[in-house]
């Protein structure tokens, strides 16, 4: 990571630190203050959007570990979220377990299901692995619909809201804080895991799995570990999603979401924790902006059918992804780094 001129690291610890200057620490603290005081000043709509962003960030961070760092492309992430969501829903609604016990169980259950669907990853990769993970999405949803007595099938399942010391977390502000705390912890964990031996093994597998194996990286165990960790994130995100709606339904985990999560990684920058966050924020904001723009455009230009105006969201998302794939395949994060470097070197930047 580049630093402003005149700042030198004097120890290995300093060199490895995520935040290395006072300014970075101040910005982080300011960000956290702004973030965690949002319920005091933000509207319900903003809290809803940011809560949904938080849940998506958790899920995409998991996908980033799996796809961005370990190179195992998954198009079944919403299916793994469904596993977590339904495990949490069943444990709390049917067995009466508290949310705080159900949440880790949801993560672990999704992680183990991820391992099962990750098993083929030793033999197949690329396009073939994508198809295997797509199968995961449909198999999971099919199974949920079949076990009607347990999951509620198409009726879905009413889910109790989380409680903390007798306080029911049902306001938008309270749930926002819960999601953001977990998102921050998830980000911290994701940022650090890739700086460990495990993370380096993931990157080695992504860059050249044959070379990694020759160097002593156990491909099967590390690939499965990547599936496990990635799906744990998805499971936690799924659990948070169903408790937010107080309802679990298979429609909450459509295949399209799996595709969009991958798109968020592309836009933000694969293989970068910050990139995953950037990608979620960028595409979610774009989506919301287009949702608002649809009715406004239909009013301003009555010749445009409301339906056409409303479809802008999908069109814009598609265009943005195409633009990034063509002009900036390394995503927003890479571009952000270049912009920072540009201004740091100014007036000598080229």
């Amino acid at each position: 990571m580049s630093l402003p001129s005149g700042i030198f690291q004097e120890s290995y610890g300093q060199d490895m630190a995520i935040f290395r200057t006072k300014l970075q620490w101040i910005l982080l603290l300011a960000f956290l203050v702004v973030l965690f005081t949002m319920p005091l000043y933000a509207s319900d709509k903003i809290l809803t959007i940011t809560t949904m962003m938080g849940i998506s960030i958790i899920s995409v961070l998991g996908l980033n570990i799996l796809t961005g760092y370990c190179g195992q492309i998954s198009l079944g992430h919403a299916g793994f979220m469904a596993v977590g969501g339904y495990v949490s829903a069943i444990l709390t609604a049917k067995l009466g377990l508290p949310f705080w016990a159900a949440l880790p169980c949801a993560g672990l259950a999704a992680g183990f299901v991820g391992i099962i669907f990750g098993l083929p990853s030793l033999k197949i990769k690329g396009f073939y692995l994508i198809m295997a993970t797509v199968a995961a999405q449909f198999i999971v949803i099919w199974l949920i619909l079949q076990f009607r007595d347990v999951t509620g099938g198409t009726d879905g399942l009413a889910v109790p809201r989380p409680e903390l010391f007798g306080y029911v977390i049902k306001t938008k502000g309270a749930y926002f804080l819960l999601v953001m705390i977990i998102a921050c912890l998830g980000t911290f964990f994701a940022k650090n895991i890739v700086r460990t031996r495990v993370g380096r093994a993931f990157i080695a597998i992504r860059d050249n799995d044959l070379a990694a194996e020759v160097m002593g990286v156990n491909l099967l165990s590390y690939k499965l570990l990547a599936f496990f960790i990635g799906c744990v994130y998805a499971g936690v995100a799924g659990s948070l999603l169903v408790h937010y709606f107080a309802f679990a339904d298979t429609n909450m985990f459509p295949f399209g979401d799996s595709v969009w999560y991958l798109a968020m990684l592309i836009v933000g920058g694969m293989g970068s924790t910050s990139g995953a966050i950037f990608g979620v924020i960028a595409l979610k904001l774009l989506d919301e902006a287009m949702t608002l723009a649809g009715p406004a455009l239909a009013t301003a230009f009555p010749a445009i059918a409301a339906q056409a105006a409303a479809s802008l969201s999908l069109i814009m998302r598609g265009i943005v992804i195409a633009i990034f794939l063509i002009f900036e395949p390394r995503g927003l994060m890479h571009r952000w780094e270049l912009i920072k470097a540009y201004f740091r070197r100014w007036p000598f930047s080229v």
Partner: protein, 424 residues
């Protein structure tokens, strides 16, 4: 490099503007002389055509009320004050639960005290929140699951399971009258979605068996099939099925019937079988597209035919002639838009008899509005006037059965609701 940086900077600026717009919208103020109607519409996805017509119905109806200050030509005594205007607020939820929630929050912050639901994903996602907020919502969809327990989502069509029960009764009468002594064999041929699978419940099967049917099984067809459902149809043939019941939208039912006819399956073809669909597969859309190819197909629980000589259809035609003379909507769901808008306005009008417009709340509209709607005549668009109340969310009390005969829509019967779904 400079060029790319500039592009990225512009993109960031757009994002920032979007964020500021969202923030501004979140804190928006409402005009206290305006009553808002509308809600979420799935203008992208499988229901896009339906919802575009519904939205057009909402918009035209709002213009009518603003021009005339009455809720319908046949309700000249039900007026709104001259200084009150109706405005439609809407957003495209893309049939997504989380989008429906953020649109709901947005519209609520802009003053919408009612809501509408397109289909199952939003209905299931919002039902608890609507109940918590005590917001009454109209719905074009009647999936049993999101109506149970009956809370604050109100329908103008019978629940799909009740529609299927009525069709089963109608078919059994015909079957018996034809001198058949064996039990008729029934199967589900339904969409592979919450919409379609909503009827696949034990209570429905038990009802069919008690009625005298032999239940064979289920076949699922994608909501919008990419290929004809040949395998599913041949399964029905192999299992000697006489009647199929299902919930499909037109993009599902039309290719299914086209393939069935190709395979020689239909009431008047080599293999005798009757296909019944619930009302999202509208005959008013089906018949113009299929003509006599669709002969024998039955649709339950729908509105009147678009050429019916009833006040509601005449009113809808008048709205179109006045407000969109060059851009007429031929989709039957336009009637639904008018009807839902009328219901939302009537609920607010009733509530205004108990409070002033500036103090109007969603709870007022629910308790003094929706719950007080009794024998509400919607110009005979629905089979019976609408009546709602606490625990009574199914507006009508009968199921209309229509069939394609000689390429035309013919009403072949009506049956009372059987309340198949256990929670209703």
């Amino acid at each position: 490099m400079k060029k790319i940086n500039s592009i990225v900077a512009i993109l960031c600026a757009v994002m920032l503007v979007a964020l500021l717009t969202l923030t501004a919208c979140g804190g928006g103020t409402t005009n206290n002389k305006t009553l808002y109607i509308g809600g979420t519409f799935a203008l992208t996805g499988a229901y896009a055509e339906d919802c575009a017509a519904v939205l057009a119905g909402f918009q035209d109806y709002a213009k009518y009320v603003n021009d005339n200050h009455i809720i319908a030509p046949w309700y000249t005594d039900r007026t709104l004050p001259d200084d009150v205007t109706i405005e439609v607020l809407w957003g495209d939820d893309q049939l997504s639960a989380d989008k429906a929630l953020s649109i709901y929050d947005d519209l609520k912050s802009r003053g919408l005290l009612v809501e509408r639901i397109t289909g199952s994903p939003e209905g299931l996602a919002l039902k608890d929140i609507l109940n918590l907020d005590r917001v009454g919502a109209t719905s074009q969809s009647t999936t049993p699951a999101y109506l149970s327990p009956p809370e604050t989502i109100f329908t103008n069509a019978p629940i799909y399971t009740d529609q299927m029960a009525a069709a089963a009764e109608w078919f059994l009468e015909k079957w018996t009258a034809a001198g058949n002594t064996a039990k008729p064999r029934v199967a589900y041929l339904t969409a592979d979605s919450s919409l379609g699978r909503g009827i696949v419940i034990p209570e429905m099967q038990a009802y069919l068996e008690n009625l005298g049917y032999e239940f064979v099984g289920s076949q699922f067809v994608p909501m919008v099939p990419a290929t004809p459902p040949t395998t599913q149809l041949l399964w029905l043939k192999d299992n000697n099925v006489n009647l199929t019941l299902g919930c499909m939208i037109n993009p599902g039912s039309q290719p299914t019937i086209r393939e069935a006819v190709r395979l020689g399956m239909g009431p008047d073809l080599d293999y005798k079988i009757t296909f019944v669909f619930a009302n999202p597969s509208h005959l008013q859309v089906f018949v113009p597209a299929m003509g006599e190819l669709g002969n024998g197909v039955v649709v339950t629980g729908d509105f009147v035919a678009l050429d019916a000589n009833v006040a509601g259809v005449q009113f809808a035609n008048q709205l179109q002639a006045t407000y969109r003379p060059s851009n007429k909507i031929s989709h039957v769901m336009y009637l639904d838009g008018v009807l839902e808008a009328m219901t939302q306005v009537e609920a607010q009008r009733l509530a205004l008899q108990h409070t002033t417009i500036d103090k109007l709340t969603s709870l007022d509209i629910l308790e003094y509005g929706y719950y007080k709607i009794t024998n509400f005549n919607v110009g005979e668009i629905t089979i019976s006037p609408l009546t709602y109340g606490p625990g009574d969310v199914e507006g009508v009390d009968m199921v209309r059965i229509q069939q394609v005969q000689d390429g035309k829509i013919v009403e072949v019967g009506s049956y009372p609701l059987r309340h198949i779904y256990k929670h209703l």
